[in-house]
């Protein structure tokens, strides 16, 4: 059985304007729209396409977090994942512990490919995939914009600062997705109904042998510094004059 793992993180929707709580204890998430991390949707889409090409048999979606993550897992099932696991915890789980839990799942479920988002848009860490690859002792191809599976090898094109880099990696391996890898499909109503019957298991962190530890304590949260209000000019001449006054043209 060739099984692909796609971790799904529940995050504040990317359209929400983030506000820091006045007491600096965090950001306001009450009553805010939550979604699948956009990069994880891309990861899931890629896994589904690989399966649809007959190169994998099953797509397993896993989320680590509170009970509400079930909503995002149901959406993942509606998109086409075969099965889902919720690792339920109310603790803050840092990328290293997420990676340790995923590592256990990779072994138990004999995963041949794990596709993660390149970053979660809440913590913006961009760590979990690389950490999973290290703990698993397997290759990583991060920031992927193209993936080709060929037997026991994957050829991955990566978006790097210099342009595009291509790597060849032995499977099993970890891939993390960049924006241009694909465009995720829309969920259709009948799929939402079907998804209700698909298996969604809930386990706790202890069953994966991990007790989440806070290695980096969040001491306080601040709003970002605001830029001072600028000026409006009426035409290109005024614009160039303003640049000249600043010594920029």
């Amino acid at each position: 059985m060739k099984r692909i793992l796609v971790p799904i993180k529940r995050v504040v929707d990317y359209n929400v304007r983030i506000r820091v709580k006045p007491d600096g204890s965090g950001v306001i998430t009450d009553g805010v729209k939550m979604s699948i991390n956009p990069f994880d949707e891309i990861a899931l889409e890629e896994a589904l396409r690989i399966k649809e090409k007959g190169l994998a048999d099953e797509v397993l979606a896993v989320s680590i977090g509170p009970a509400d993550c079930q909503q995002q897992l149901r959406t993942a099932l509606a998109m086409g994942a075969d099965r889902a696991i919720l690792v339920q915890t109310d603790a803050v789980v840092e990328p290293l512990d997420v990676a340790r839990m995923l590592r256990t799942i990779c072994d138990r479920e004999s995963i041949f490919l794990a596709i993660l988002g390149k970053q979660a848009i809440d913590d913006d860490c961009s760590q979990t995939g690389q950490m999973l690859a290290a703990l698993w002792g397997r290759p990583q191809a991060t920031f992927a914009s193209k993936v080709e599976i060929d037997g026991a090898v994957a050829r991955v094109t990566r978006e790097v600062d210099a342009g595009l880099e291509t790597l060849e990696i032995d499977l099993p391996a970890v891939i993390t997705t960049d924006l241009r890898l694909n465009e995720p499909r829309y969920v259709k109503l009948p799929d939402i109904m079907k998804a209700k019957k698909k298996p969604l298991d809930t386990v706790d962190t202890a069953s994966l042998g991990v007790t989440p530890v806070e290695r980096l304590k969040a001491v306080k949260f601040d709003p970002p510094p605001q830029r001072t209000k600028g000026i409006m000019v009426k035409d290109a001449q005024e614009l160039v004059d303003a640049l000249r006054r600043k010594g920029l043209a």
């Binding site: 990328p95 290293l96 913590d123 290759p139 600062d161 595009l164 790597l167 304590k217 290109a236």
Partner: protein, 317 residues
């Protein structure tokens, strides 16, 4: 004493300009001793450029044929081994550093501070989250090794040293992993300034409407000695190359001058330009959110304004 090890990203000839910024960040830690680590197939010239950065106490080199093309899988086990005896291990927040450092952190059983933007003490740092819409101060536990990527837009580059630092060859036993093989890299190499370090950046959005139209921005940029950037919408539509994307998931830049043409100013884009000294926005829509952050705004059609600016620049003011 805080012993800080920085992985010196390079292109085979010189260290990346981001490294001089990592050195400034490391120097902000009290009582710091700074070592740069060069992984290369032939490290001599790179090591010399690393040794010339002011504030560097020592350069160590690791020579291996596998490092002809830098791969996280090859460097990580060796960097993790070198990290013994260091309190902090830093890399730049470039795609190289973002790929490598978490792999090193996991091998060291450490957490990672991503995009470190300010040092408050040897264990307390600030970093942006939620596309820079919030800044979190984090404290690592006493005695834990601190692994971090340094947000290069937040630090000035260290200068050039008068007395170059000593260079030593390091001995490591960890062999690079071979399950990962470099195939190729393709870059739209140009003579234009590098987007990440350029003093001026001209940038375009979806409004450019085609790759050909982007040509007017390249013309203006060449006149100004500027690099060219783009919004995600422009890159997705194929008007601009992927390595030109500015924003939360593209490049975070801090030029003296950023000129945004036909870019609406979505939060994901603004994340990438918050540290620009002066932001200029030209947009048809007076309500475009980009005007909320612009120092100089002009409501107008870019297809008229861009050629006009170009013409006016030719005329002494």
């Amino acid at each position: 004493m805080n012993r800080i090890l920085i992985v010196a990203e390079h292109d085979g000839a010189r260290v990346n300009p981001a490294i001089a910024k990592c050195v400034t960040c490391a120097r902000a830690i009290p009582d710091a001793e700074v070592t740069l680590a060069v992984f290369a197939a032939d490290p001599a010239t790179v090591a010399a450029s690393a040794a010339a950065i002011a504030g560097v106490d020592r350069v160590v080199t690791v020579t291996h044929a596998a490092h002809a093309n830098p791969l996280a899988a090859a460097i990580a086990p060796q960097l993790a081994e070198l990290a013994a005896g260091y309190s902090h291990v830093f890399g730049p927040s470039t795609t190289f550093g973002k790929d490598l450092m978490p792999r090193v952190a996991a091998l060291l059983d450490s957490a990672q501070v991503s995009d470190l933007m300010a040092v408050e003490s040897a264990t307390r740092f600030r970093r942006p989250i939620y596309a820079s819409n919030a800044i979190v101060t984090v404290e690592s536990s006493a005695g834990a090794k601190v692994v971090a990527t340094v947000r290069i837009a937040s630090f000035e580059a260290a200068g050039v040293s008068v007395a170059p630092a000593p260079i030593e060859a390091a001995v490591v036993s960890a062999a690079p992993d071979t399950h990962t093989r470099f195939v190729s890299v393709s870059s739209a190499r140009s003579d234009r300034p590098d987007l990440q370090t350029a003093a001026k950046v001209v940038s375009g959005g979806r409004a450019l409407a085609s790759a050909e139209n982007f040509g007017i921005l390249f013309k203006l940029a060449d006149k100004m000695g500027a690099a060219v950037g783009a919004s995600r919408a422009a890159v997705d539509a194929g008007y601009a190359a992927n390595d030109m994307q500015v924003g939360q998931t593209g490049k975070i830049i801090a030029p003296q001058l950023y000129l945004a043409f036909g870019i609406s100013g979505a939060i994901q884009h603004l994340t990438g330009i918050k540290d620009a000294r002066t932001i200029v926005a030209v947009n048809k829509d007076p309500e475009a959110p980009i005007f909320e952050v612009a120092d100089i705004g002009l409501v107008g059609d870019l297809f008229q304004v861009v050629p006009e600016i170009e013409r006016l620049l030719d005329r002494p003011g």
